[in-house]
Subunit: 107 residues, 2 copies
DNA sequence: TTGGAATATTCCCGTAAAGGAATATTGAGA
DNA sequence: TCTCAATATTCCTTTACGGGAATATTCCAA
């Protein structure tokens, strides 16, 4: 797992943008209006999201239409899979660890 | 989705720590040694992870044993679920958007 | 009860990054 | 071609944060 995706999503305004785009593609102006964020900031955040591959642009005349790319989410999901055992496991692995430590100490 | 989990995970060293703890609980010293990060930095990162609820501590004499908490991962997974349609949908919603815009213009 | 091991905390410094304001760029239509 | 609307970029300032080094804290064992 590389950190660029997580980093891009960790900024509150950018996360808001992503959550908004979840509903469908939008122009910069629409995002700016809906989220009450000044246009330049929106553009900047979209650039970060774009560089991280989270978003793609489609030029339509004057407007730039932004939409989510599926890849990073698929990737994130795959990464999360490797943690699934952590919350599916019944037993508390801490007990095991403590026993291990005790054994080492007895040697 | 709140941003503290993502923020905590977005730092490379912290992500490494989390990935290491995926295999099981560890003490500060073990983490420090395995990842070749100085102990104070490890403690600092663990504090951030702890504040974010990603990690829990268990005091054992001198040592502090850290282990992952499942909640944030479950939460993250639930959040990702809401994006699942994005990559499962066959049709490109961009086309829809462009048609909408065209219709608006014709009014 | 004192010393040492394990861990946490503090202070300082440098850098990255976000917001504000102004400005540049691009495209369509009159 | 000129202008306006939409968007991107730049410059500046401020703040947050990570690393290094030193120090404080806590606990066990001798």
């Amino acid at each position: 797992m590389d950190t660029t995706t997580l980093n891009a999503l960790s900024e509150p305004n950018r996360l808001q943008i992503v959550e908004l785009l979840r509903e469908g593609p939008l122009t910069v102006g629409e995002i700016s209006e809906r989220l009450q964020i000044r246009q330049p900031q929106v553009s900047k955040h979209l650039r970060v999201l774009s560089n991280a591959g989270i978003v793609r642009v489609h030029a339509n005349a004057n407007r730039r239409i932004y939409q989510l790319r599926p890849e990073p989410f698929i990737q994130l999901n795959a990464w999360l899979e490797s943690y699934r055992r952590i919350w599916e496991e019944r037993f508390d692995s801490l007990d095991d660890y403590l026993k291990e430590m005790q054994e080492k100490q007895e040697k």
